[in-house]
């Protein structure tokens, strides 16, 4: 098992059936994928293509890779009725997330402000000519979406038994080292040392949305990174954490965010319509709710 740092988190690569040299080679290739993605899509890098797009005052021509992500993002926006929306960059900055996160680095005495409402659908995308025109008030944040997609791309490089874990966005190929399913410990959002339950996951992907690890203090109180696109402010539902299991990491990432923003009741309703997903909802009052296709490991 190998680890490296990317996208401000630890990435773990494990392929138990491979020998050491081959597993290391896989880790090197996965690291290169993350490096390429970060160079293009990080909003914290001055030289990234996303930063150029977020600063463009006129239509610009984007790379095929950027176009692909923007088109896919638009599809997610459409399918979630805007509950998932990457046009939250300005809202994140207004909430205080204006630099790469580190514990305490975003704390400030000033109260947060609200950013002008921005919709990803306001982005004009000319697919044929790869041209994108951005309204001045619209800032794009592709962090979670790109991380999920990169995990999926990394998993495509891996053998049939492998784990690619990027800070909680996880692709689990095969049925685990002992063929009984990969073990997934659901962390207690109130106490990171505790595990609420353990799941078994086979050939699927996991993503978790919770404010506990990326929150900071402001003059207005506390803030976190899970923005509700409908209000432009950190989401304030009855959920403390959502762990989503889906066929791809990208889907798990998107659905986890949507569920967190919607709250327990609406999330349960949405998830019940999908046979291929499952979720563990941790409510703020301490209750646990398991929804859909989830296998819980014996205690």
């Amino acid at each position: 098992m190998w680890t490296f740092q990317a996208m401000n988190t630890e990435v773990t690569v494990s392929a138990p059936a491979l020998g050491d040299p081959a597993e290391r080679t896989l880790a090197v290739d996965v690291a290169a994928l993350f490096e390429q993605a970060e160079r293009r899509f990080s909003r914290f890098r001055e030289d990234s293509e996303l930063t150029q797009l977020n600063r463009a005052t006129d239509a610009i021509t984007v790379s095929p890779e950027m176009l692909e992500v923007l088109v896919q993002a638009r599809s997610h926006v459409d399918h979630t009725d805007g509950v998932f929306d990457p046009a939250i960059g300005a809202a994140l900055i207004a909430a205080g997330y204006d630099r790469s996160f580190a514990p305490g680095a975003l704390d400030r005495a000033a109260a947060t402000t609200a950013a002008p409402r921005a919709r990803f659908s306001d982005l004009a995308i000319d697919v044929q000519h790869r041209q994108v025109r951005r309204p001045p008030h619209l800032q794009i944040d592709l962090g979670g979406l790109v991380k999920g997609r990169t995990v999926d791309r990394a998993a495509s490089l891996a053998p049939s038994l492998a784990m690619i874990d990027a800070g909680g966005d996880v692709a689990l190929r095969g049925a685990g080292p002992d063929d009984a399913g990969w073990l997934v410990d659901v962390e207690d959002p109130a106490d990171a040392r505790r595990v609420l339950m353990t799941l078994r996951v086979r050939g699927r992907c996991v993503a978790t949305s919770a404010p506990n690890r990326r929150s900071w203090r402001t003059g207005s109180g506390s803030a976190h990174h899970l923005i509700d696109p409908r209000t432009g402010r950190p989401a304030d539902s009855d959920l403390a954490q959502v762990t989503m299991i889906a066929p791809t990491t990208e889907e798990a990432e998107v659905l986890a965010k949507v569920a967190f923003v919607l709250g327990a009741a609406a999330a349960t309703h949405v998830l019940a319509q999908r046979a291929d997903v499952g979720a563990v909802l941790v409510l703020r009052d301490g209750l646990l709710r398991v929804v859909g296709d989830v296998e819980v490991a014996d205690a």
């Binding site: 098992m1 190998w2 680890t3 490296f4 740092q5 990317a6 401000n8 988190t9 773990t12 494990s14 138990p16 290391r24 880790a27 090197v28 690291a31 290169a32 993350f34 490096e35 160079r39 030289d47 784990m163 874990d165 990027a166 800070g167 909680g168 966005d169 996880v170 689990l172 080292p177 990969w182 073990l183 997934v184 410990d185 659901v186 962390e187 990171a192 996951v201 996991v206 978790t208 949305s209 919770a210 404010p211 506990n212 690890r213 990326r214 899970l226 954490q241 762990t243 986890a256």
Partner: protein, 134 residues
């Protein structure tokens, strides 16, 4: 014609030969060699003045002169003399033509191609996932 060695030497009359072996003198009192020297000197002076006049009145050059070297000290490699510097340590615009089909790669992007630092997880670390939002 013989000469009297005791006779004082008077200025030579034009057209007459001086002491045997010398070149004939011209009306200005200069030898032909001296005259050639003076002519060449005058011509060189005329050329120099003309060139300065021409260059002073001409349009500015198409390419500006290179900027002066920065005052910050260069950082020499250990295996090179102290008077040299690494090209990537010199803060000035490079004065070369990029061949067709080539492009200049900035140093940051080259550095970024270096692989991330991989670390081997301890063998005792269990292969299981811990959910977290990041």
């Amino acid at each position: 014609m013989t000469t009297d060695p005791t006779r004082p030497v008077s200025p030579r009359e034009p057209g007459t030969k001086g002491p045997s072996g010398t070149k004939p003198q011209l009306g200005s009192g200069l030898t032909s060699m001296e005259l050639r020297f003076h002519v060449i000197t005058v011509l060189a002076a005329v050329y120099l003045v003309s060139w300065r006049v021409i260059t002073a009145g001409s349009a500015p050059p198409a390419d500006p002169p290179p900027p002066p070297m920065p005052s910050a000290p260069a950082i020499p490699r250990q295996d090179t003399p102290a008077s040299t510097a690494r090209i990537d340590g010199v803060a000035r615009r490079p004065w070369y033509t990029v061949p067709a089909g080539w492009h200049v790669v900035d140093w940051d992007s080259v550095r970024a191609l270096a692989p991330r630092k991989l670390e081997r997880a301890p063998a005792s670390r269990p292969v299981r996932v811990r959910t977290r939002s990041s």
